[in-house]
């Protein structure tokens, strides 16, 4: 995404969000690469040496939760969500439509984040551990909260950009 699309005003903020965007993408790439290696090591160890890296299935499944939830924020920032695009590209209400959708996305992911937090809090208090790795389940569950919260923040930023675009379009008329 080009810096011009960066929704938050001010050079410092724009630089900051561009940098964090790059960083999150790098993190996502490293995690998927690590998952690929863990998968191969586990299957290889089982077939060749008859040993198991215990909990690999859990590690991979939890990592999948992580890349999807972090990726959700990236997809939102890059405005790459899959959608049914019935509106013509030059529809006069597009600017308004985009703003409404950004706001709906913000509201829905914020609600999901708040409810996720409530769940994570209860899970932390409950303290159950995963069967294979024995990690506290609050850790993988927290990924869902983090993903929704980040996405809500990103959606708010895109909504602000949409609002600005709408205003400038109105003033041009």
């Amino acid at each position: 995404m080009s810096p011009r699309d960066m929704p938050i005003g001010g050079d410092i903020l724009a630089t900051l969000s561009a940098a964090s965007h790059k960083l999150v993408r790098l993190l996502l790439g490293l995690v998927l690469l690590a998952m690929t290696l863990a998968n191969a090591l586990n299957a290889g160890a089982r077939y060749l040496f008859g040993t198991q890296m215990r909990g690999t299935d859990e590690l991979l499944a939890f990592s999948q939760v992580g890349i999807v939830m972090l990726g959700l924020a990236v997809v939102t920032a890059e405005r790459r969500h899959l959608a049914v695009d019935l509106f013509p590209a030059k529809s006069p209400i597009n600017a308004l439509r985009r703003l409404v959708l950004s706001l709906v996305t913000f509201a829905a992911t914020l609600y999901a984040a708040i409810q996720s937090y409530a769940f994570v809090e209860r899970m932390a208090a409950f303290g159950s551990k995963s069967m294979g790795l024995g990690v506290p389940m609050v850790i993988p569950h927290a990924l869902v909260f983090v993903g929704f919260a980040l996405t809500a923040a990103v959606a708010l930023a895109t909504a602000l950009a949409d609002a600005r675009a709408l205003v400038s379009e109105e003033s041009r008329r």
Binding site: G29, L33, T36, Y47, H81, L82, V144
Partner: protein, 423 residues
């Protein structure tokens, strides 16, 4: 409830909202204002869906597809396919169907197959004068055989919920999947013959041989992946990871076309594409949970059961019902919720439960690429960057072909059952 679970999602869909928001906002509005469901169900179901081990085929095969594109493996495969079968009418279309069948067989994941086909074969289809719409339709629909030809997660779930032999379902799926692929191939060749677009590429042996040699590492990939599953080196889900690893090794060591930064960028892009697709699965899971606990599918089936249909009519009703339900429920929920209800009705009408399982599976396979919701179409949209309308237009003829295949599978049970009775 109709407002929040039907009207609001339809309105959001029409407005062009992200598909996951269509499901999530509908579910949230229902939870917040209509039903006394604890809101933490959102977190529980999203996590439950995304921590499903079998879904790992999606990020892994997306990664493999992305690597094949960036390292030039895909280009070499396409060059070879065009050089080798250039004179056969509809050759590139046939290549796509063949690749979809093999990759689908290997991965067991229809969306993962779309992702891999899209990254590798789409450019080749365009080069051989297919329109983007046609190419996308071919890719999205070819991949549906993934859950019909074993291994298939859909069949494993059906076997679990309906208490049927997974081994027999796997065997019965082979002729059904081949029939679908065969009819698709006939259609592609037929269209090419009518258009007279057969001989645009002349076959030159020297070019074909050179293209073959360049493509060898890529051609060995399905051999390695399929062989590894058959030999028990790795499981079907693990196979996705090995496909990616193979592409990394070929890209770095053999073709020397993959730098470290490109490798990381490919992984990042595959992760982002996975997020695009799997968040829809997760949000649809929340939506399905609400429908299930409100007994919506159960009521629908009770209604069908009350009609007093004979076997022939019942199968027709089930086909229509499943195509409709496929729009609302994700395939996992659809199988788990519907099969315990439908199978006793089917067996009481004298329908073989293995045959019935294949009918259900093919239905859901078709539902994966038909409007309004179809995960394959969303994946094609994400990987190819085309508008949804374009893809749906391209998918239409193949949907008709596959519904024809479904009719044959439904009303000619020996096709699926003959081999299962031999073993």
């Amino acid at each position: 409830m109709i407002v929040t679970l039907a009207a609001l999602p339809v309105a959001l869909l029409a407005l062009g909202a992200p598909v996951f928001i269509v499901f999530l906002a509908g579910a949230i509005a229902t939870i917040a204002w209509v039903l006394p469901v604890p809101p933490i169900i959102i977190q529980q179901t999203v996590f439950g869906s995304l921590s499903n081990y079998a879904l790992l085929a999606v990020p892994f095969f997306l990664f493999a597809g992305e690597l094949m594109r960036r390292s030039g493996i895909a280009d070499r495969l396409v060059d070879f396919a065009i050089a080798a079968v250039g004179r056969v009418p509809g050759s590139m279309g046939l290549t796509t169907i063949g690749a979809g069948t093999v990759l689908g067989a290997v991965s067991g994941s229809s969306p993962a197959t779309v992702a891999a086909l899209g990254k590798t074969l789409y450019p080749g289809l365009l080069r051989t004068r297919h329109s983007p719409s046609e190419a996308a339709g071919l890719i999205a629909s070819s991949a549906s055989v993934a859950i019909v030809i074993p291994p298939s997660i859909a069949m494993i779930l059906y076997g679990a919920a309906a208490e049927q032999s997974i081994a027999k379902l796997f065997i019965a799926g082979v002729p059904a999947g081949l029939l679908i692929a065969g009819l698709m191939a006939l259609w592609v060749v037929g269209v090419a013959l009518v258009r007279g677009s057969a001989s645009e590429h002349r076959f030159v042996a020297a070019i074909a041989v050179r293209a073959f040699l360049r493509a060898v590492p890529g051609l060995l990939m399905p051999v390695f992946v399929l062989g590894g599953i058959v030999a028990g080196w790795f499981s079907p889900t693990e196979a996705g990871g090995f496909a990616a690893l193979y592409a990394i090794l070929v890209g770095i060591l053999v073709h020397r076309s993959l730098s470290l930064s490109e490798l990381l960028e490919a992984a990042a892009e595959a992760a982002v594409l996975s997020a695009q697709i799997l968040i829809i699965v997760a949000a649809a899971g929340v939506f399905s949970y609400l429908l299930t606990t409100q007994q919506v599918p159960q009521a629908l089936i009770g209604w069908v059961g009350g009609l007093g249909l004979n076997a022939w009519q019942f199968l027709l009703a089930v086909n229509l019902l499943l195509l409709a339900v496929g729009c609302l429920l994700d395939p996992t929920s659809a199988i788990l919720v519907l099969s315990p209800l439908l199978v006793p009705m089917a067996t009481s009408l004298g329908i073989d439960p293995i045959h019935f399982g294949i009918v259900m599976t093919v239905n859901l396979a078709i539902g994966m690429f038909t409007p309004p919701f179809g995960l394959n179409v969303f994946v094609a949209q994400s990987v190819l960057g085309l508008p949804l309308g374009t893809i749906f237009r391209g998918v239409l003829p193949f949907a008709i072909v596959q519904i024809l295949a479904l009719a044959i599978i439904t009303y000619w049970p020996p096709l699926t059952l003959a081999i299962t009775r031999l073993v």
